[in-house]
């Protein structure tokens, strides 16, 4: 027996609608839950003072600094490498078997669980290169982790630059490098920034790879060779070792708000990018 189309239509609307509502509700629930438990613990002192007694009391200032410095360092390393690779793949090579293999490799790299990057960073930077747990080891590891994202988004952004711009530039006597510098990159910039934002978001939320490579010292880092603790790691340690649930939730709330802000920034940039393209 066939179900009349009228009913299948109603059924589809109900099921799809329910899926959407469920997704949104779960998301909102998590955010509201964390914020309601964490927001009361957030104040100026919490944000800007050092933790006391392993984080049982005091604030999170060093971890806030770590959360800013570590992704920044990762991006500072990954951005030139990633954009350089993307420019090379799109502007300087023709589509060959080699570029396909390179692209496939990048995609595979993007799918590797972060703990493997952590393990690699630990063995290579921390142990083999004797750098120890530090900001630099962590930054290098996270850089490798976000590199595929930056390469792919930059590549897409560069491909989206109309070919006619390149043609004009060449026809005015510009070399390929001048064309890349003066025409391609400025026009691909919004897309590249979007990729950077996604990379920052991923680095901020990372724990496994960070514990392995940047360590979890609660001191204020004095140089790139000092160990740092990010908010994600701080939250993880507070919760896992039962140090202080109240402080853990407050840290989580700060973390959620920062990730939300970064994503909002990425989103609005993406929109401006699309708006400009379609004009």
């Amino acid at each position: 027996m066939r179900i009349p189309p009228k009913y299948t239509q109603a059924l589809a609307v109900t099921v799809l609608g329910a899926a959407t509502v469920f997704t949104v509700v779960v998301l909102v629930f998590i955010i509201v839950f964390v914020l309601s438990k964490g927001l009361p613990g957030i104040n100026g002192e919490f944000l800007f003072s050092a933790p006391k007694d392993m984080g049982r009391a005091g604030g999170i200032f060093p971890t806030l600094v770590g959360t800013v410095l570590l992704p920044l360092m990762a991006i500072a390393i990954a951005l030139p490498l990633g954009v350089g690779t993307a420019v090379y793949l799109t502007e300087y090579t023709r589509e060959t078997r080699l570029t396909q293999v390179l692209r496939f490799g990048t995609d595979c790299l993007a799918g590797i669980p972060s703990i493997l990057f952590g393990l690699f960073g630990f063995i290579f930077f921390v142990v083999m290169l004797k750098m120890g747990w530090c900001l630099l080891s962590g930054g290098l590891t996270l850089a490798i982790m976000v590199l595929p994202t930056i390469i792919r988004t930059s590549e897409e952004a560069i491909r989206a630059v109309p070919n006619s711009y390149r043609e004009v530039s060449f026809s005015l006597g510009a070399t390929r490098w001048e064309t890349v510098l003066k025409v391609v990159l400025p026009n691909a910039l919004p897309g590249i920034v979007t990729g950077v934002m996604l990379g920052i978001g991923r680095s901020i939320g990372e724990t496994a790879a960070v514990i392995f490579t940047a360590g979890s010292a609660l001191r204020m880092p004095a140089s790139a060779f000092d160990s740092v603790r990010t908010m994600s790691v701080h939250f993880y340690i507070l919760a896992r070792e039962g140090i202080s649930n109240e402080k853990a939730y407050a840290t989580a709330a700060v973390l959620i708000i920062s990730v939300l802000l970064v994503n909002l920034a990425a989103y609005s940039m993406m929109h401006r990018f699309i708006a400009r393209r379609s004009r």
């Binding site: 043609e167 026809s171 006597g173």
Partner: protein, 253 residues
């Protein structure tokens, strides 16, 4: 002024992969005259135009043989500075294609690429170029406005100004009016006749009346061959080849 041709093409063959797009093409471009290339779509006229500043180099699988002499020097000879060639032989494209920058920055683009840092010199050349493209009076007060907000024919003339700023000797125009309405087309045509006093112009056009109105020499191309080349008046009033006659009289194409 010497009567030697500025550009002299002989026995030019061009292949896109296996496709034989230009077959033993000859052409002579006289200095400070307008030379028009006409013919049906796909006849190779744009391809021929794009060999003159080696824009075809950018396409994969293009092979060229024969010779193109620019003031006596073969532009396909090894060791040719292609960037310098393209500064000497500039191009205006089919669709107006200003950069998404201000009017000023569009015109200054080539100068900045060439490394001209002196702000006053740039300003002077921008003004001179906009004047030469008949845009200065309309645009002098809004040089910082985005070039994309201009009407199409002003955009196309801005592209001419952008080209004039790098001081080319030859201007190649690839159907420069095909995106424009008749009034805008007339304005571009007048501009071309004005530019002829200082520049050598080669234009590809679909529009036979346009070729008849503005050009001094014309070449009729068909299926990759130069069927007939000569003074425009002769091509349009007393074509020697039956195929040219069919085309210019509107029986074909």
């Amino acid at each position: 002024m010497s009567t030697d041709p500025v550009i002299s093409v002989s026995a030019l063959d061009l292949y896109y992969g296996e496709f034989h797009a230009l077959k033993q093409v000859p052409m002579e471009v006289k200095g400070r005259h307008i030379t028009a290339l006409i013919g049906p779509s796909g006849c190779g006229k744009s391809t021929l135009l794009r060999t003159l500043n080696r824009m075809n180099d950018l396409i994969t699988g293009v092979r060229v043989s024969g010779s193109i002499l620019l003031e006596g020097r073969d532009i396909y000879a090894p060791g040719t500075d292609v960037c310098l060639l393209r500064k000497r032989v500039g191009m205006v494209f089919q669709r107006p294609n200003p950069f998404p920058l201000s009017i000023y920055d569009n015109v200054a683009f080539g100068l900045r690429v060439a490394g001209l840092r002196d702000g006053h010199a740039v300003e002077e050349i921008v003004e001179r170029s906009l004047k030469a493209a008949w845009l200065w009076d309309q645009l002098k007060d809004k040089l910082n406005q985005s070039a994309l907000e201009l009407p199409l024919d002003q955009q196309q003339r801005l592209c001419v100004a952008r080209l004039l700023a790098v001081e080319p000797e030859v201007i190649l125009m690839d159907e420069p009016c095909s995106a424009l309405d008749p009034i805008a087309t007339a304005r571009i045509e007048e501009l071309m006749l004005d530019l002829k006093a200082k520049y050598t112009i080669v234009i590809v056009t679909h529009n036979m009346q346009q070729a008849a109105r503005i050009s001094d020499y014309s070449g009729y191309m068909l299926l990759g061959e130069m069927i007939e080349f000569g003074a425009t008046a002769g091509i349009f009033t007393s074509p020697k080849d039956k195929r040219t006659q069919d085309y210019v009289s509107g029986r074909y194409g």
